[in-house]
Symmetry: D2
Subunit: 151 residues, 4 copies
């Protein structure tokens, strides 16, 4: 199986079968070992404080965590000598977030939010990703750093 | 106005009028300057990975952030010389999460989740809280540390 | 070899042969799988800002990192079926700090500083420790959370 | 007084009168509101583990904290309407590290270490900086994120 084909399948699965991602409207829009991307649209149900009409901090953390996990997963698959659904699934089942730091920089306002992630540590047991969230105007909303178990 | 009365009003408002908290089922069950508490029940929509049936990491981060913000808010009100709805609202509007670290210790499994928080820094501009999340069996699921703007 | 004997040897080695710990005067005063402890005395060379006469933030981070690493090491040895110098050395060589969060709560003033650590995650690949630093008056100076590679 | 002149004075003061920076050999080599830089040379006294001959994690944290504090200080001065030694000193005395996350990516080996920092949050009360440490070969040794009190 080609890597591209597997990536395509995973995007479809993650976008359509992960309950919490669907609840929040998080969509993987780029699944790549160099840089991955998540997007989601403003929705009133994501509001933390109704008086200020800004995203709940947990929404931001959820999107950062998913973006970090996505780039980590792409790197794990990238290292496989052979790609089969069974091997891929086994490898992905070992991935888990160990810790996540979220830096909230500006109030979460906007119509669309874009989270990008790249890897800063690519080990056989532990990987570390850095993430950034902007809105559609290019304003930095948040940064993140996540440490993930990979093996 | 008595502090108890104000705390009661805030619990009601936060439990019933914060869209994202309602979406996740997060309930403030203790609002106190010494120790605050959030509880929420398992719900399939909170699942991150449908194969492992565990909470999405963002759910945990959301609950930790709310628990930290709650104990911070209780301390801010605790310092007020006079408690009126207008003064309280003005003070609370200044509270915001600066950064949040979440440590995921065990898979998020259980029927009910209990998050407690206490303050480790109680400044006039910045406060820091530490949080712990357990399930109904007393298993530690996660720890957190949050830095909050307060003034 | 008994575990006590090995712990004794490690305390001696770490207190007397680790250049940077010696430079700062950091001493392991308790080496234990439940709770470990580091102590160090005030020294003018540890000053960050000469006008405020407080510890450099890096001194605090150094002490927290050592305290976390010590309790992690005690747990790694604790799990060994057989304790020999060679096995112990091999296991300890795999320990490394992945990430460290330091929360500076109060200015670093005092005559002696005591850092305690305990484990919150005790995995076969990754361990997580939480640390606290007080001065001799019992004032909380700092908290920390460290994630360590162990296998 | 010109900003350049004040920056020059501060570099001299920080490089020559801060005891712990001198002990470690940390030198500010760029003091700038856009990007600041710290450099230091390998020295055996900075060794954490004598068997592996790598930097103590506390050395890395110290350098990251200084780099972050330097870019924060440059921004604080940058905002001043008038620069006098008294006003500058008063502003700088309010700067303090609230929390610092260090991500250790590779063993601290090299002849020279270069730490760069830039601001990701530039508030009137709180600033956040991100830092990177490389060795002279361009290898990434560590990343950091620091939250600083500024007002």
């Amino acid at each position: 199986m080609q890597q591209d084909e597997m990536f395509e399948q995973l995007i479809n699965f993650w976008n359509n079968s992960m309950p919490f991602n669907q609840l929040l409207g998080l969509k993987i829009t780029r699944f790549d070992a160099q840089k991955s991307e998540i997007r989601f649209a403003w929705d009133d149900k994501l509001i933390g404080n109704p008086m200020q009409k800004i995203l709940h901090g947990g929404v931001t953390a959820s999107a950062l965590d998913l973006a970090g996990g996505t780039v980590v997963a792409a790197n794990v698959i990238n290292k496989l000598a052979e790609i089969t659904p069974a091997i891929t699934q086994q490898c992905l089942s070992k991935i888990g977030t160990i810790d996540l730091r979220t830096d909230y920089l500006r109030p979460g306002r906007g119509e669309e939010f874009i989270v990008t992630s790249h890897l800063i540590r690519n080990g056989s047991k532990v990987a570390v990703a850095r993430m950034e969230m902007h809105n559609e105007l290019g304003e930095h909303i948040a940064f993140g750093t996540g440490t993930y178990m990979v093996g």
